[in-house]
């Protein structure tokens, strides 16, 4: 049974991360990978075209060449190896996984903040520091959203957890307590 993309991405990204960490190139590596990811995201068919046999090998080589020329060192080797093993369709996944490993390493947490009214910077900073304390992260990168339907309060959504302090949820819980 062939491995699914998530498993593949986890394995490649772990190896890549350990290698870059040893060579102390995590930050520069991430920047390069982000560029590669952008290429793949801008051309959604690229990953598949480089993996399956819809193109002649020579044409595929030509497509990979600019990617290989633009990169160097470990990243260059990564692109070459992923191409050789026919895993180019998992490239975006590998980079995403790498980024999550990188964030874990730097104790960075991404979170979506939803409020009923737009927040100013001082309020955002308050939430940032409070949330960082709560989850034990060094850095919190917030993505602020406005949704009037929550009426009031704050909802913070981050990898696999929801901190829900919205008036909407409180009202519905109150209703449950009263009506049953």
């Amino acid at each position: 049974m062939s491995l699914d993309k998530v498993t593949v991405a986890k394995r490649y990204s772990k190896a890549l991360f350990e290698l870059l960490e040893d060579q102390d190139q995590l930050d520069s590596g991430l920047e390069e990978l982000k560029q590669i990811r952008k290429v793949f995201q801008d051309n959604p068919q690229l990953g598949n075209a480089l993996t399956d046999n819809s193109l002649a090998p020579a044409k595929r080589e030509a497509l990979v060449k600019p990617l290989l020329d633009q990169s160097e060192g470990v990243i260059h080797n990564l692109v070459q190896m992923v191409y050789d093993y026919g895993r180019m369709d998992a490239m975006v996944g590998i980079i995403d996984q790498f980024q999550s490993l990188y964030d874990e390493h730097n104790q960075t947490v991404y979170a979506d903040v939803t409020t009923a009214v737009p927040l100013d910077d001082s309020q955002l900073n308050l939430i940032k520091s409070g949330y960082a304390k709560r989850v034990g992260a060094k850095q919190v990168i917030l993505n602020s959203k406005v949704d009037a339907s929550i009426i009031g309060g704050v909802v913070i959504q981050s990898a696999g957890t929801i901190f829900d302090g919205s008036i909407k949820t409180k009202i519905s819980r109150l209703r449950q307590a009263l009506v049953g």
Partner: protein, 512 residues
């Protein structure tokens, strides 16, 4: 009734005081696949097997598979409202159903919600649907009888309280009828019955409930139903939900009879959801743990030790065979799990022997200890009589000259078969069963024409009710036979007055 504003606002105030304002923290995942009653979700990294999850639409799901990258979830309800990308929350609870006295007399679904249109069920007690069965030290040997009210069962395959007795047979052989009649006979027996209908047509369930109601059996019965239009997960959990409701009474020292009608359909439902969850198929495409599915369910039937209150739960699972094939996968599994089986035979059913119990292949491994003494005495030779009758019957068709002993055996056998017939929904008390079998084994029926046996039987019961009720009372009270000579004399008294239907009369009756 006058509404008092102060009282109501005081009540609301009290409830508001209990309301705690805290931020809800929930672990979530994202649905990546949904269909056919199951869903897969990424995230939910700490979810446990069997844990209840809540989808955005308010539908609940149960964790079944924990895989490297995702979680396989069975959806307990309408899965059409779930879409890919929905969030799914952990609840930290495992699946529970409401239990307690308020459930009695109600028809509920697998989640314990009423479906009989009689309003809410007011009970604050719940029980997890999956529970480890009582262990070795929690149990006691089965010793009290469970009277089914059917002569053929109570005499040949006696069932004890806490036993697991399988009812097996082809379609349309009266399996459900045996179960329903058993429930009807539990009236005034200090029993609570749970009838779990799995994948039965809603109309069939409806008519079964009507039958139970008509005979006053709904006063002590809970019906759990998961119809064929429900998604497979609900069919799969229905017997566990029923067992949880029964256990509540068992652990309170009461006696429970639970009927799973039928486990073949539950196995099919489990096969369906296992295949969709991509578990590898095994024999007959059932998943590898299909045996465990049934064994852990049936193991929950028990006779509890005195320390635990001495309650019991008797399980009567039903299995449908295809063309009498008991060696198929599910029938062999369940036969090996249970403490005996009642085999219903379609040939005898169509030849008019109803209940169509096959005496040769039906057994009860523990019920003999629970049989009342009087019944043991009169039914001791019954099985042998029947076996030798069936053997001789096939030979006797060829030969014309039979010696007297063979003739007598055939004669007795035919009458035994006739006596063991019983009409629908008319259970007999144990003393009456003993009485007619006593008459049979002591040869009082040998001179009665076969067509007159039913008439003789009802006449005998009326006669004893009127003139010898004391003898019947002795059997009911002590469980033992009263003085054999007195019994014989009383039966002889009736035989002397019995008027057989004469040929002309019979003909006239048929011409009518």
């Amino acid at each position: 009734m006058s509404i008092k504003a102060e009282e109501i606002s005081a009540l609301i105030k009290q409830q508001l005081a209990n309301y705690q304002d805290e931020i809800s923290v929930e672990e979530t995942g994202t649905v990546t696949y949904v269909g056919d009653g199951i869903a897969r979700a990424h995230g939910l990294e700490n979810a446990l097997v069997g844990e209840l999850l809540e989808f955005d639409s308010g539908v609940y799901g149960m964790v079944q598979n924990l895989e490297t990258n995702d979680v396989g979830i069975v959806v307990l309800g309408d899965f059409t409202k779930i879409t890919e990308g929905d969030t799914v929350k952990r609840t930290g609870r495992i699946m529970e159903v409401p239990v307690g006295d308020a459930m009695i007399g109600r028809v509920v679904n697998s989640l314990g919600q009423p479906v009989d249109g009689k309003g809410d069920i007011k009970t604050d007690k719940t029980r997890p649907i999956e529970r480890k069965a009582p262990g070795v030290m929690d149990r006691k040997s089965v010793f009290e009888p469970l009277q089914t009210g059917m002569k053929a069962i109570d005499s040949l395959v006696p069932i004890g309280r806490g036993q697991r007795e399988l009812i097996i047979g082809d379609r349309k052989t009266g399996k459900t009828t045996v179960a329903i009649d058993t429930i009807i006979n539990q009236k005034d027996q200090n029993m609570i019955c749970v009838y779990v209908a799995i994948g039965q047509k809603e109309s069939t369930v409806r008519s079964s409930v009507e039958t139970l109601r008509k005979y006053g059996a709904m006063d002590y019965t809970i019906v759990v139903t998961a119809g064929p239009s429900e998604p497979a997960p609900l069919l799969y959990i229905a017997p566990y939900a029923g067992a949880a409701m029964g256990e509540e009474f068992m652990f309170n020292g009461k006696h429970v009879l639970i009927i799973y009608d039928d486990l073949s359909k539950q196995a099919d439902a489990y096969r369906e959801l296992s295949l969709i969850l991509r578990r590898p198929p095994g024999r007959e495409a059932y998943p590898g743990d299909i045996f465990y599915t049934h064994s852990r369910l049936l193991e929950r039937a028990a006779k509890l030790s005195d320390d635990l209150g001495g309650g019991s739960m008797t399980a009567m699972p039903i299995i449908e065979t295809k063309a009498g094939d008991v060696s198929a996968y599910i029938p062999t599994n369940v036969i090996s799990i249970t403490d005996g089986q009642i085999f219903l035979d379609s040939d005898s059913f169509y030849s008019g022997v109803r209940p169509a119990i096959d005496a040769g292949t039906s057994v009860s491994r523990v019920g003999g200890d629970a049989q009342v003494k009087a019944m043991k005495k009169v039914a001791g030779t019954l099985r042998l009589d029947l076996a030798s009758y069936h053997e001789l019957e096939s030979f006797a068709q060829f030969g014309s000259d039979l010696d007297a002993a063979t003739q007598a055996k055939l004669n007795r056998g035919a009458r035994t078969v006739e006596v063991l017939k019983q009409p629908l929904h008319s259970p007999l008390s144990v003393q009456k069963q003993v009485l007619i079998l006593f008459a049979l084994t002591n040869g009082f029926l040998d001179d009665i024409a076969l067509d007159d046996i039913a008439k003789f039987e009802s006449g005998l019961f009326d006669f004893f009710d009127a003139s010898h009720a004391d003898l019947l009372d002795v059997i009911a009270k002590t469980g033992d036979l009263p003085d054999v000579d007195k019994m014989k004399a009383a039966v002889q008294e009736f035989v002397n007055t019995f008027q057989p239907t004469d040929a002309d009369e019979a003909e006239a009756a048929t011409n009518k």
